[in-house]
């Protein structure tokens, strides 16, 4: 990017989008995975009156919950309040939350896979599209960008086949070995629905997309190459023409980064297991997002300062979006989040880079 173009971008685009587009910004933008959630008393107040699906399916409630952490902390991005399971009921899958997802009839046969519907783009989550419009108009004054998101096909398949949260998703890993053709048929359908679901969010106003591949790290490289890579590539490539930055999230995937780096995404969200300066060379000039261990927020403010500064220093030398390595714990004190935001805002990346 030449100097004049860079100056224009700097003047007009929000910090978060500039960092996603590869700019080595002076301050790292910050948002927090699961920032609208159970650690906030204002969220619990709403949660006491509505079920999870009621909150997700009411555009007004979704907007309210999405905006709560923005009002409280002035974060650099909002993420629409939803769940990676949201596009599955229109496919014909019954899901309850208790509090993790419970699939009424886990998918275990080719017949069940054949029976899954592929809904039209506008049919998947019209309530979410309305919520996105509402949130965008509320955010227009502060110019805070809004993130849309979805689950990666393999991670969605993991839940559909296992049926609920699990330590090591043994039922799923067995199915994948026993029925590779059926697994691929399921992944094809989930890929198509994910594309429609994410495109609908961007058209409704989402300014960035995050693809959550929360369970990819269960697998070795060959398995990831066969059952994850082609589908992730297809989903991310199908968003290319919409011209929004794409973030791919992987947890417990230290052993897969060189393969993950092949994906067409502008940014990669990584967990806390490796420092950012070890990870950065693998992803070249693309943006890294992360990677404070969420358990640090449960410690003292001094520990938070120390550990967040360590992450910030490790993120120098390229574009960095500050975040946790995984979702925030519900036991987190909101004051600790406010403190973290201050630490990140006070850290002048250019000045400290020059000193090093």
């Amino acid at each position: 990017m030449n100097a004049i173009l860079e100056a224009q971008t700097t003047a007009t685009a929000p910090l978060f989008l500039r960092a996603l587009n590869g700019e080595n910004t002076r301050t790292a933008p910050i948002w927090i995975m699961r920032q609208a959630g159970r650690y906030l008393p204002e969220y619990m107040a709403l949660k006491a009156r509505s079920s999870f699906w009621e909150m997700v399916r009411s555009p007004e409630l979704t907007a309210e919950v999405t905006l709560q952490p923005i009002r409280r902390f002035g974060l650099d991005a909002a993420i629409v309040f939803s769940d990676i399971m949201t596009p599955l009921p229109p496919m014909g899958v019954k899901i309850e939350f208790n509090p993790g997802p419970i699939i009424e009839n886990p998918i275990r046969t080719k017949t069940q896979i054949d029976a899954l519907r592929i809904p039209e783009e506008g049919e998947i989550a019209p309530f979410l599209e309305q919520a996105i419009s509402l949130i965008r108009s509320e955010l227009s004054s502060s110019d805070t960008p809004l993130i849309g998101f979805g689950g990666a096909p393999l991670t969605l398949a993991t839940y559909l086949i296992q049926g609920s949260n699990s330590k090591d998703y043994e039922e799923f890993r067995a199915f994948l070995r026993l029925e590779p053709a059926a697994t691929h048929a399921l992944l094809e359908k989930l890929t198509e629905v994910s594309i429609r679901y994410l495109r609908a969010q961007v058209k409704a106003g989402a300014q960035a997309i995050q693809l959550f591949d929360s369970w990819a790290g269960l697998h070795d490289e060959l398995t990831y190459r066969e059952f994850a890579l082609p589908y992730n590539r297809k989903v991310l490539a199908a968003l290319e023409d919409l011209n929004v930055p794409r973030i791919y999230l992987a947890i417990g995937c230290s052993h897969l980064y060189p393969v993950i780096a092949q994906l067409p995404a502008e940014a990669f969200s990584v967990d806390w297991r490796l420092p950012l300066n070890t990870i950065r060379p693998i992803f070249g000039t693309r943006t890294l997002q992360g990677n404070l261990d969420p358990s640090v927020l449960l410690a003292s403010k001094d520990t938070i300062t120390l550990e967040a500064t360590r992450v910030l220093k490790s993120g120098l030398g390229g574009a960095h979006v500050f975040n946790l390595g995984h979702g925030i714990s519900r036991f987190t004190n909101p004051d600790h989040v406010a403190h973290l935001v201050e630490v990140v805002r006070d850290f002048d990346r250019h000045e400290i880079q020059n000193l090093m």
Copy 2:
């Protein structure tokens, strides 16, 4: 080792112990994590009549269960049937199994830690010592070596503080950040008890020791260096004079191998996430144990042959003990285990190495 010595060792020592001591054996010895367990009908028959603690605390039942998979498959090593929780009740901790461990009063205060007893060596598990004698005399005709084992201090602390199985052990990770001094005090006590517990097993007749650090992979390198490395080193070093090979097991630790390689152990048991030929250079000339994905045993025999052969080839170029990357699934068909043993026995490592 010179040729005459090698010939003597070859003539006298069982395959498993030769491989643990660094010999690049012609056949890879094989045993299977959780080989005495719920996938075996003969185990379920005993389990129907006795609780888990009854089985662990009766030397006769322990011996019977330990020997079941040896009789059925002729594996290259037996591992004494027990649980990493076994040394904790003598410290004053109440534990039930349902089926995972449930700690009656999870450790959350320094007062609770101070109250933990450090029992004498002979007091921790006399029933286990008796079981080991019984098993050794039963195994003497086949010359099958017997493995003793224990949990690594950090992994034991993970359960003691969390209180039960968990997806990400958030309570534990919070405690470790909030109360680092108390965590160290707990780890010190667990280290001392582990040393006594493992020494008692070796003195009773265990011919190798495996230290299970099942949850080490939750942590980044700095956290591992502070809360795991020094205690693991102390436990393993304290067994040095007993002259039995020491195996250190880590799961989900791809990012920690260079630090783990600093431990004084003869062998390292690794999960399926990285191929053995990628891992081997990190551990130099020491033995690798692993690393078939347990879910492969749930697939067809053809898939088992294919994937086991891949692991065997990847393990060439150094000492290799064949095993799974983690415990066998209770849904495994025992015939599949028999097939796996055949595949491993038929694989001539020297011949195939020469062809490559």
